[in-house]
Amino acid sequence: MPITLIVNGEERATQAAPMTPLLDVLREEFFLTGAKAVCREGFCGACTVHADGIARMSCLMPVGLAEGCAITTVEAIAADGVLSPLQQALEDHDVVQCGMCFPGMVMSLTKFLEQNAHPSRDEMKTALAGNICRCTGYERVIDAVLALTNAPQAAE
């Protein structure tokens, strides 16, 4: 029996075994390779996606439990090819290094900023506890996001 889920607004079906990690279905079947397969144990955050509006590690989510869920991957964050304000801030501040952790960073931060539009530096660090950057670029990430959230238009 196929498993049906809504991926980036589009209904998709997979014949994968239900205990297959959602991450593997996204990458290998739907060719959405933005979510990265790195630690596969929920520590690094490189595979973060949104499932029904919640940031989740897709390596730890059996696709069978994603039946009917709305899944958003990093590929859908730049609507119509226009970077989100967060993505733009990260690019403007030249934050991206090797890029392995970045899709997960973007997904975690996108959801976090929806809930806390003006975070402190400590709150940002807490929010990023599950996103590991092997290039150790954390402070620059935080600087870029704070520049975004402290910008005059962010207060409106």
């Binding site: 929920g42 439990l65 599950g130």
Partner: protein, 285 residues
Amino acid sequence: MAHADNLYIAASVADAVAVLVDRAGAATPLAGATWVMRAPLRREPLAHSYVAISQIEALQRIDISEDEAVIGSCVTHARLAEALAGRGDLAALATAAAKSANPAVRQAATVGGNLCTADFAAADLVPALLCFDAAVELEGPGGVQRLPLQEFLSLRHALPVGSLLCRIVVPRSAARSAHARLPLRKAGDYPVAIASLSIEQDDKGIVTRAAVAVGSVEPVARRWPSLETALVGRPLNTAWIGVQAERLAEEFTGRDGVEAPGWYRVKVLPTLVRRAVEALSAQTA
């Protein structure tokens, strides 16, 4: 509703119990899946089949009254932390739920999963619940059974077929509580050691009841009765309690693990007790 032979999505507790019984021990309940999905990394086989219980509405309830908090076994750490925020007597449990793992894992990992995963020695919620004298309610073919949490921890390896942990019952009191943990990084990884405290004091500040629970030091979390006895009848003095914790810490046999050797877990325990007491004092202030 079955997806395939190896994952059944249960619609109700009765449905889950029936399928677990029908599969005669070959099926395992599955909640947040955060432990099960890492089985290959631990070089463990997946179970023959799973019965997913995370979509059962009754297991996602949190009911808090003046007397007790009743927590459904499929409540996630994130929801529990949110529901308990600002409730001083349950602060240890709120902290445990809010600080464990990382934000995305807390959105998936459940209370029931934390208690049922016998091989997960570093579970934050276990010592926090132990210090409240929490009980668990199981449902199965024989009906509903309530057990003290410590007893459940010793039985969870060999529960009767069809037993499902459905609720955790946490008595409320005039106590104040705190939870201190030591991860190797500031956050995000497993704690090396955990100390949870629940303390009641009279109007002169004398401790009238003390509960201390220790997690991650030994393979299974447990209470620390000798330290509890030492605390009762005296004011809450951080330095003095730290000295007692150092004196009594040899009662623990630390477990060796990849993140820390056993001796280190025991060595840091008195410091965590002190930190938990400091957190209690800060609540008072």
